[in-house]
């Protein structure tokens, strides 16, 4: 397993772990204190900040080839896949509130950063999964 696969696995693990932890917190707080206060459990989403540590945890080894042409091809393809996922997500984030709430109504300001975080995390997860699938399958060049 090379450094990029390890980083991708780490990203997927952190995202899944954070969402499970957040769900548990919100669930427990809902039972104990009811819904409005239970939303404070969403603070556990801050664990997603661990994603930024991947570069420090999985350091580049000296005197080794870390990123050759195949790695570059896989990386570019994962970016393409992530970009292809971005547009439906972005469109859904814009249009779903439009249809559900209506164009003349208001949403709490807290919803906006949550939507942005959700999109960003979805893209990181999509890129990580694309990287892992391609390394696992051994993509044929040009196919």
């Amino acid at each position: 397993m090379n450094r990029w696969q390890k980083i991708a696995w780490y990203n997927v693990f952190v995202i899944i772990f954070t969402f499970i932890l957040t769900g548990l917190c919100v669930g427990v707080l809902t039972i104990k204190h009811g819904m409005p206060k239970a939303l404070s459990g969403l603070g556990m989403l801050g664990m997603l900040g661990l994603l930024g540590l991947s570069g420090f945890i999985f350091k580049k080894k000296k005197h080794n080839v870390e990123f050759d042409e195949r790695d570059r091809l896989i990386f570019y393809r994962s970016i393409q896949i992530t970009f292809a996922i971005f547009w439906p997500l972005f469109t859904a984030a814009c249009m779903i509130p439009w249809f559900i709430i209506g164009p003349n109504n208001l949403i709490p300001i807290n919803v906006l950063p949550l939507m942005l975080v959700a999109i960003a995390i979805s893209l990181i997860a999509a890129q990580s999964i694309a990287v892992l699938v391609q390394y696992g399958r051994g993509e044929k060049d040009g196919q």
């Binding site: 195949r70 051994g138 044929k140």
Partner: protein, 78 residues
């Protein structure tokens, strides 16, 4: 419709060249061992530059290391 296949003799050549390891070949070709594994198993088609580097590592020409088989139904001769 033509189906193209690129096969190689890298594994055989490694053993014939003093049982060269995949890591040693990767170091000579300036790529990762995973890439050599993927090329040997036919799961990755190297670029022209990499094909030349691998061939140079064995001291052979590209055609001696990689074989291109075209299953073209229309044979074109000039």
């Amino acid at each position: 419709m033509a189906s193209n296949q690129l096969s190689n003799k890298i594994r055989r050549l490694r053993f014939d060249n003093g049982r060269m390891t995949q890591q040693q070949l990767a170091d000579k070709a300036d790529v990762t061992r995973q890439t050599i594994i993927a090329i040997e198993s036919g799961k990755y088609t190297p670029s022209l530059l990499l094909a030349f580097r691998i061939s140079r590592a064995f001291g052979l020409s590209v055609e001696d290391v990689f074989q291109y088989e075209s299953d073209d139904s229309e044979s074109g001769t000039v």
